[in-house]
């Protein structure tokens, strides 16, 4: 049978189904994905409302106080005037990706209303912004700059083609960013470079693809591994979960090694 790998996620309709259900396909929730994406960068696009009620998209830097975005914009700038006149706002944050297709990557929208933090909140917001945007020390205290906190009421997460979900502001506030995320890219590279056999064994034992020839890791998080699986039936994507959610990036190596060991024993 022909392998139909077009080299992009648009080939999804041709992906062969698993031959049995994956053993454990636990994944981060939309709220966790959103907290993780928000924590990974310091640049976003703000949507605010002009005096005419038109939507205005503008690039901003941000810090995080808990999960709440902290903005610092000039009252002289269009988006600064917009927020001062109408607090409704949303923020689009895009996860870094190496895929040539921008829509294959993950992104979130955090929507709510901005407030001017006061007193202790203001000090914390100021510190959060400076921590994320060190160059702001040169202008943060200029009289025309205002700190804003975005109180998130609604979250939309899109994880690439066909993967998307919503979360409430409460779910977002109580979720935590994935502690494994900062180590994920390195782990993916290491697994693909040095442990291809183990990945294929995992795909066969736990991923639902006992006919996997080879497998590559496309993502790592505290719940498990994303795998791209080559089979004689075509290319598919699956998931191999850890027995328990990891508490820190330190646990990633031993959890992955244990998964590989179990996979080999069960084959």
């Amino acid at each position: 049978m022909a392998v139909r790998d077009h080299g992009d996620p648009g080939d999804a309709p041709s992906a062969p189904p698993p031959l049995r259900p994956p053993t454990n396909d636990a994944r981060p929730s939309a709220a966790e994905q959103a907290r993780t994406i928000a924590a990974a960068t310091n640049a976003a696009t703000l949507a605010s409302l002009t005096a005419d009620g038109d939507p205005w998209a503008s690039f901003v830097a941000y810090g995080l106080l808990g999960g709440m975005p902290v903005l610092c914009v000039s009252d002289l700038a269009e988006h600064g005037r917009n927020l001062a006149a109408d607090p409704r706002a949303s923020l689009s944050i895009v996860a870094a990706t190496t895929d040539v297709d921008p829509l294959a990557g993950s992104r979130i929208t955090l929507a709510g209303k901005v407030v001017r933090p006061s007193d202790a909140d203001r000090d914390a917001a100021r510190a959060a912004y400076l921590s994320a945007v060190p160059a702001a020390r040169f202008y943060l205290d200029f009289s025309d700059f205002t700190l804003w906190l975005l109180r998130v009421e609604r979250v939309r997460w899109v994880g690439g083609y066909g993967r998307m979900d919503s979360a409430t502001g409460e779910q977002y506030a109580s979720a935590e960013p994935d502690p494994v995320a900062p180590a994920a890219a390195g782990a993916v590279a290491h697994l693909n470079a040095d442990h291809a056999d183990a990945l294929a064994a995992m795909a066969r034992a736990f991923g639902g693809y006992p006919d996997a020839d080879t497998a590559a890791c496309t993502g790592v998080d505290r719940y498990g591994l994303d795998l791209r699986v080559h089979t004689p039936r075509g290319v598919a994507y699956t998931r191999v979960g850890f027995p328990e959610r990891l508490a820190s990036a330190d646990q990633l190596r031993s959890a992955t090694a244990e998964l590989a060991r179990s996979a080999r024993h069960s084959s």
Copy 2:
């Protein structure tokens, strides 16, 4: 006098002024900058209006028909429903930068209204989107996807700290992207690696800094070079224009060499 180079644009207030006016500080207009930034990538953030009139920021891919952004979004997605209900929209596009400070880079907002292109326009818009987003061939003709053209009525360009300007939709439509832009990064690297002496000579002869010790090129466009100049008085930024606007990237090498020769002769 102390050199106060903080390593980021926040040091601008301490920059020493030129000792004489730069000879030719011609630069691209805001409309030209916007056309150039829009032509350099295929990913942006859309601001649209929800049913409640709230601003909704969402990641999109786009193509260009002339300078008009072409979007292709699902009617099932929130931003697709938003555009169908209210055509007011804006698009934020961010230029690639290697600066650690995201706000040091260039970005634009294109604001206007979306329309569904019909007939010949639709074919052209479809081709423009596919050219920019090849993976769209897998879903562009799905019945839930709609092509939209953003008719740009207003443009805002921000070129980093303290550099910003607006343009009308007409100015944007009639401007052209800088033909030198695709060659700019390579030219900057080459000039800094192999022609540091020539850059310093240009800064002294034409940039208004006869006391320049060294100079580095920070940008190249069809109108000239951006230079960062080290002097005993501190670090400054200046501009050295070509005698004539370049018509193509092919002219970049000879125009820069000629500028270097003139600078040496006048020293």
